[in-house]
């Protein structure tokens, strides 16, 4: 697997070429319909027939909300006037009295009811509900549908992004591994990856987990680092993928860290949770619930941190782009473009930082669970010393 520098160069150039297209303000834009941002509102409008956004502000709000959610269609942009969407549909897999498999294009962006295996399904706000032949949805007072939902195992936009990331990681790292067979110096993309891998090993895993135990966890730490990093960087491209800003995905990642921590913990760790040494008995009992809660808050914080950081970044970037369309004048256009560019560069930093922080804290938690506690020996030493002092 060789990634020629020309290919990378071309990709980067292409990304930079597309970037202004998405960001530059069409300051006096009222008639032109060549813009991804404005047009994508049409997609949102088509989805929500019930409460159609009236003005530009709520349109932008709806568009941002739509972007933050997962979707069954991969839409790059859509035409506001004709209501056409440019993109492709992804397969829908439902588990509901057997597996049902059809293309999301059959929903026609929420406008049609799909019949599969004697059941009718409707798409409403990117969620699939069971319905009847007329497609009636009942709503509660908060305007949420009360219809039953089938178990949705579809290849959605996020799932596709994760599969692509998995493929990219597989190709990159098998390439890196192969290049070591030729010689000690990696070639191609491996030159970028090797320092990152060494960084995770030398700066993250070894100081936090310990020299003799880190090897077992390197696989997980490297995987989670590059997985989050690549998905974060994907989120910054104009593809409109928001995977690490999805709380379900960060929850899964945090749960994996949690289970690894708990299952690799040694007896000292459990002892410190259920029977804290060297404190009064009453305190020991009081500390048990606190310590148990402490094990749960760690993955919870991991989950919230990644989700909130990435979502906040996406919201800020898209709101700034949206402001151009709210103000529509020659001053706001270029200045918000500049601001968007600035924030986007900050977001690249955040993408690396959050991947690093997730890995760092995971290794820290694992390290807490597996480390040998030496202080008990210290206490013994103290008790030996104390009589001498007295």
């Amino acid at each position: 697997m060789v990634f020629s520098t020309k290919l990378i160069k071309n990709t980067i150039t292409a990304l930079f070429a597309v970037f202004p297209l998405l960001c530059t303000a069409n300051v006096s834009d009222e008639t032109q319909s060549g813009h991804p941002e404005t047009e994508a509102h049409a997609a949102e409008n088509a989805h929500s027939e019930t409460h159609e956004p009236a003005d530009k502000k709520s349109q932008i709000k709806a568009f941002i909300n739509h972007h933050l959610q997962d979707s069954h269609d991969f839409i790059f942009f859509s035409d506001e006037e004709t209501g056409k969407h440019y993109g492709f549909s992804l397969p829908v897999i439902l588990i509901d009295n057997g597996v049902k498999f059809f293309s999301a294009s059959e929903f026609e962006h929420g406008e049609k009811i799909v019949e599969a295996g004697g059941e009718h399904y409707a798409l409403y706000h990117d969620k699939i509900y069971k319905t009847d032949a007329q497609g009636t949805l009942t709503f509660d007072e908060h305007h949420h549908p009360t219809n039953a939902m089938p178990l949705d195992m579809s290849i959605t936009k996020n799932v596709m992004a994760m599969l692509i990331t998995a493929l990219i990681m597989f190709l990159l790292f098998t390439g890196l591994a192969k290049s070591y067979k030729k010689g000690p110096i990696p070639t191609g993309m491996g030159r970028i990856l090797e320092p990152l891998v060494l960084f995770i090993r030398d700066e993250v895993a070894i100081p936090n987990i310990g020299k003799d135990k880190y090897r077992k966890f390197m696989g997980y730490l490297l995987t989670v680092f590059f997985f989050i990093l690549i998905l974060n960087l994907f989120g910054l491209t104009p593809l409109g993928i928001n995977v690490t800003g999805n709380i379900a995905i960060t929850a899964c990642l945090a749960l994996i860290t949690y289970f690894i921590t708990q299952f690799s913990a040694n007896k000292d760790y459990w002892k410190h949770i259920f029977w804290m040494p060297d404190v009064p008995v009453l305190m020991k009992i009081a500390l048990i619930p606190i310590e148990i809660l402490g094990t749960l808050t760690k993955p919870f914080a991991l989950m919230i941190r990644l989700y909130a950081n990435i979502s906040a970044g996406h919201i800020v970037v898209m709101s700034l782009i949206g402001l151009i369309f709210v103000f529509k004048n020659w001053i706001a256009g270029p200045s918000f473009f500049g601001l968007t560019l600035f924030i986007s560069i900050i977001e690249i930093l955040v993408a690396f930082l959050q991947a690093f922080v997730f890995t760092m804290l995971s290794s820290l938690f694992i390290g807490m669970a597996v480390q040998e506690h030496h202080h008990e020996e210290d206490h013994d030493a103290h008790t030996e010393e104390e009589p001498i002092i007295i």
């Binding site: 700066e203 914080a301 919230i304 941190r305 909130a308 950081n309 930082l353 690093f356 760092m360 804290l361």
Partner: protein, 63 residues
């Protein structure tokens, strides 16, 4: 009277800002005093900042 969540969010941001400022300021002081330990100080700073951020975001969601 119900206090709107947005006020809570504002308070959280003030607190988080103060906290991050303190961390950053102290780290700068430490690096200025011991420039050779900059790497270690930065790592510690990022960990603390991340932990603070986690709390701040949790509070923001509650607000």
């Amino acid at each position: 009277m119900e206090i709107p969540g947005i006020i809570g969010a504002g308070l959280v941001v003030i607190g988080a800002g103060l906290g991050l400022g303190k961390i950053g300021g102290s780290a700068m002081d430490a690096i200025a005093r011991q420039p050779e330990a900059a790497g270690k100080i930065q790592t510690a700073m990022i960990i603390i900042a991340a932990l603070l951020e986690g709390v701040a975001f949790a509070a923001l969601f509650a607000a």
